[in-house]
């Protein structure tokens, strides 16, 4: 039972004293370029264990910077970032891999290894941290089942649809049972129906106890899920609402689009691709 195991891991991997906040930002400022405005400006934020949070905002609002700081890909210019109770600035460089083992990451462009099969792509994440062959043989099929890819173990990435590729990427991100899953626009390249399928997988993982933080532009999904929404603009948190919509400013737009997509009959225009694509290049690392 993958569900049971995931829960047990999430609990046992944490320090004895209970830390409620899985991710905590304390007055975090990140400046890339002294002459420009900061990418993140005095952000204070807590994301609790087991929570599902959306990070929304325009391109350049600081979403990706937020995720990079959690992963210790960058160092905060000031303030402190805590992950599972640990100040990441105090983690020595040789311990960073251990921090990253506790965090799964999913990207818009999937980042699968094209010459490896589905099974091998997921197994790769276990091989490189030294898991034994037998553990890999047992775990990978379980995780593939969780993300709904049973029977596709031997396919190559280019033989899969975009949604299936993203499922492989999610499987790879969670196969080592991280306490946190970061998703950077995971549905950015997918159509609405496929996106909802992906959201189902992320929701399932979240229900197994993994904290999920998802940066997105996809208003339909945010509105559908009704989870916590943190909105960033120019590096500042302008909204942090539980069970919120994509935007509280012009609810009509979001609502109407949601209804349209839910009915599944909107053939006149591709869903919001015109809005999303300009941001893609900037958001990618």
């Amino acid at each position: 039972m993958p569900v049971r195991r995931l829960q047990i891991w999430a609990v046992s991997a944490l320090p004895c004293r209970v830390i409620r906040a899985m991710i905590r930002f304390e007055n975090v400022t990140k400046v890339y370029d002294q002459t420009a405005r900061p990418a993140l400006d005095d952000v204070s934020l807590e994301i609790d264990r087991g929570e599902f949070a959306f990070l929304v905002g325009a391109s350049g609002s600081g979403k990706s910077t937020f995720l990079r700081l959690v992963l210790k890909e960058d160092r905060a210019s000031s303030g402190a970032v805590y992950v599972a109770g640990q100040n990441v600035a105090k983690i020595s460089s040789w311990r960073v891999p251990r921090l990253r083992r506790g965090i799964g990451v999913v990207f818009q462009d999937f980042r699968l290894l094209p010459q490896k099969s589905v099974f091998a792509n997921v197994a790769f994440a276990m091989q490189v941290i030294g898991k034994s062959r037998s553990v890999i043989r047992d775990t990978v099929p379980e995780v593939l089942k969780t993300v709904g890819l049973e029977g596709k173990e031997n396919r190559l990435p280019h033989e899969l649809s975009g949604g299936e590729q993203q499922r492989v990427a999610i499987a790879r991100a969670v196969v080592n049972r991280p306490g946190i899953l970061l998703a950077d626009e995971p549905t950015g390249n997918l159509d609405p129906t496929t996106s909802m399928g992906i959201m189902g997988v992320l929701d399932k993982i979240n229900q197994n106890g993994t904290t999920v933080v998802m940066a997105t532009h996809d208003d339909d999904i945010v509105n559908e899920m009704r989870k916590r929404v943190v909105e960033l603009r120019n590096g500042i948190v302008i909204r942090d609402e539980a069970k919120a919509l994509y935007t509280s400013m012009i609810p009509v737009v979001g609502q109407s689009r949601r209804l349209r997509d839910a009915s599944g009959r909107d053939e006149s225009q591709p869903p919001a691709s015109g809005e999303r694509n300009p941001g893609v290049g900037e958001e990618q690392r």
Binding site: S93, W94, P97, G102, I103, R111, A125, Q127, V128, R172
Partner: protein, 304 residues
């Protein structure tokens, strides 16, 4: 599992980069051959110095059976003549120039000869009787050779007085110059090798940036990420070093052993086996050069 994984990564890296790997092998091969050639010249110099070279400067050879020198008209040296010579060496007139002297009997001479010419066919045709006994003198000032020569040349029982250094020093300085040239060429080639290894590793890291990016994200340790790249360079360099060692052995075997030693039977040459003591040094040198240059390259081009 992790070892198997690292090995698999190395294999795929070497396969993807064949042309670069071959060039690394060839450059390290050539550069280390020059390093080895310098080493071989030094070995050869040591071989030619023989037993006495570093200990004494002047040898007084005493008459033996076949001697034809003027002082040997009375035949081989007699014990009295030998005693007289020793007394003369100890007399104040001579002793002021002499640090120390030793007597080398025919048997000693044969022993040292056998050591020095162990690689030469001549050793089998020589018996102790054919070798002269001698006084070996360590001078306080080697420039005062003339005084010893004048004093002893005319003594009965003395075949000849030889300043060994003068004979060999010109040859040695030529060989030292040659090994200096070899070392300088080797230096330039080693710089080439280091730069080439760095470029190769950089390309390799670039062509596998997807894999390494994923490895980083899922929390692979620095060692697991970097080791395949470093070992790739090290393996190529070690193959180059092995080829260089093989070449040196071949030179010693075919050129020195089969050709030169027949042309100059009275010269002591190094044996092919002796060149093999250079092999571990070359392997370590090649491996560590590659390891260090790949490590430095990765530090810049492979974020971990």
């Amino acid at each position: 599992m992790r070892i198997a994984f690292v090995l698999g990564e190395i294999g795929s890296g070497l396969r993807r980069n064949v042309s670069m790997v071959v060039s690394v092998i060839l450059v390290t091969f050539v550069s280390l051959t020059f390093v080895g050639a310098a080493g071989m010249l030094q070995l050869q110099i040591n071989q030619m110095k023989g037993y006495w070279y570093d200990k004494v400067q002047v040898a007084i050879f005493l008459c033996s059976d076949g001697s034809t020198a003027a002082g040997c008209a009375t035949g081989p040296v007699t014990p009295e003549q030998q005693d007289n010579l020793q007394t003369l060496l100890e007399s104040p007139a001579v002793a002021q120039y002499v640090n120390d002297f030793q007597f080398e009997s025919k048997e000693d001479a044969y022993k040292h000869f056998k050591e020095q010419f162990s690689n030469s066919p001549i050793v089998d045709s020589v018996t102790p009787d054919q070798l002269p006994s001698s006084f070996r003198i360590n001078m306080k000032d080697p420039e005062k050779y003339q005084i010893i020569s004048e004093t002893f040349s005319s003594q009965p029982g003395v075949e000849t007085v030889i300043d060994q250094r003068q004979l060999l020093e010109r040859l040695f300085s030529a060989m030292n110059a040659a090994s200096l040239v070899a070392v300088s060429i080797a230096g330039v080639m080693i710089i080439c090798a280091i730069l080439l290894i760095a470029t190769t590793i950089r390309l390799s890291a670039f062509s596998r940036r997807r894999e390494t990016g994923i490895m980083r994200l899922v929390g692979a340790s620095k060692i697991v990420i970097q080791l395949p790249f470093i070992l790739e360079g090290v393996i190529a360099a070690v193959i180059g070093a092995a080829l260089a060692s093989g070449t040196l052995w071949a030179v010693a075997h075919f050129f020195l052993g089969e050709y030169l030693s027949k042309q100059y039977p009275d010269t002591a040459f190094i044996s092919p086996g002796q060149t093999l003591i250079l092999a571990p040094a070359l392997l370590i040198l090649g491996g560590s050069l590659a390891g260090i240059s790949s490590l430095l390259t990765l530090r810049r081009y492979l974020k971990v």
